[in-house]
Symmetry: C2
Subunit: 236 residues, 2 copies
């Protein structure tokens, strides 16, 4: 289909291997190199576990790339630069490289940082993005909550914003998806209470994984230690 | 896998049959009845054209359901009620029914109206939603524009809202996706101009179809007749 080696970013969806697209499957099966991100050098890549049955280590190079979670600044920057170098080297040898990302590559993924570096260093390398099922779509499906009907306005944002910003967004939008809600849940709950919206919130943890859980009575979550990978959908 | 007949809503993505998920493909191939929406009695179903190669009219019933575009109120309500009755009748005969929807079933789809009716009339019928690649994800991928990086705030809304609401949303959010932008483009452009954001807008029409087009210099669109199926992504 093409003569020049290129980079693909394939969104592999939230966890269920059946939520990979047919295009994603084809590209993952055919590429010479698969780059899989992980948060710690000794940890398995979640994205790689999703595509496990599609790859063949005998025929493909599986390159696990570590992006230390909780690290900031120079150390993380160095990890991105190194990952970009590994990719460029393989493309220059004539091999297609696939980055696999959880969810959708354009929605809060690590790939976006590496993409920026590669675009700066080697704008000549063709890059194709294959969209994936985002954790937002998957959580809405698991919870059976519409994201938007007819003329609805939808907001997606980290729950860690200031109270007054969350309050305003919750007032103005028909649907609000709060990402990374685990650490600030009690604070978010009290804002919902103030706005009379506690009954409109649905909590979804680890969507698409074996530990997926949907909680409709969100008052039961107060004071609890919550999973890092969780979100709250508030639908008026 | 299950003994009772059920309803599936399968998002078939924006147009490219390869952007159907593996799960969507499996369910579409195996169901006895496929419901495909169309906007006019004499028009083909776009969703059906996407899944064309997966269905077999010799083995499956293909039920095209008309939801007259541009109609409102009683007439449209009657079309939804009729569609719901057709589905319930087939489930009661023991057949799985699949609704196919363009994009994602939970993001601005006609299925949501029929779902509401079925849930009221027959809450006992199991309904499973299979998420699909939304036109928003697909347009971002086609344009190569990130929807959100790190702590970004994202808003998705119809471009037909009042000027002051559009202006406020464009000021406050990092990414704004304006749906149904065709009829109000010139008005939206002047708001972007006022906010110094014209260079941040990317226009995408008919994403996923043969007529897909990405326009980066959006000033060229001024005064033109634009496609109904188009959106504008503004990424700061």
């Amino acid at each position: 289909m093409h003569n020049t080696a290129r980079i693909y970013a394939v969104g592999v969806g939230p966890g269920d291997p059946e939520l990979i697209t047919r295009k994603g499957e084809r590209i993952i099966r055919s590429a010479k190199v698969i780059c899989a991100p992980t948060g710690a050098a000794d940890a398995a890549s979640y994205a790689l576990s999703i595509v496990g049955e599609l790859v063949d280590p005998g025929r493909q190079e599986i390159l696990t790339q570590t992006f230390p979670m909780m690290k900031k600044g120079a150390e993380l920057e160095a990890a991105w630069e190194e990952a970009a170098s590994q990719v460029i080297e393989r493309v220059d040898r004539g091999n297609d490289v696939v980055f696999i990302t959880i969810g959708d590559p354009l929605l809060y993924s690590t790939f976006l940082y590496i993409r920026r570096i590669i675009q700066q260093r080697r704008p000549d390398i063709p890059m194709e993005i294959v969209p994936g099922i985002s954790s937002v779509s998957a959580a809405a499906a698991a919870a059976g909550v519409p994201l938007g009907i007819a003329g609805d306005r939808i907001a997606i944002l980290p729950a860690t914003y200031e109270d007054y910003e969350l309050r305003r967004t919750l007032k103005e939008f028909d649907t609000v998806v709060l990402m990374k809600v685990s650490r600030v849940f009690d604070r978010v709950y009290s804002i919902l209470q103030e706005l009379g919206l506690t009954g409109k919130g649905v909590f979804v943890r680890r969507v698409g994984s074996d530990q997926e859980e949907v909680v409709r009575d969100i008052s039961t979550l107060l004071g609890r230690e919550l999973d890092y990978l969780s979100m709250l959908i508030v639908k008026k």
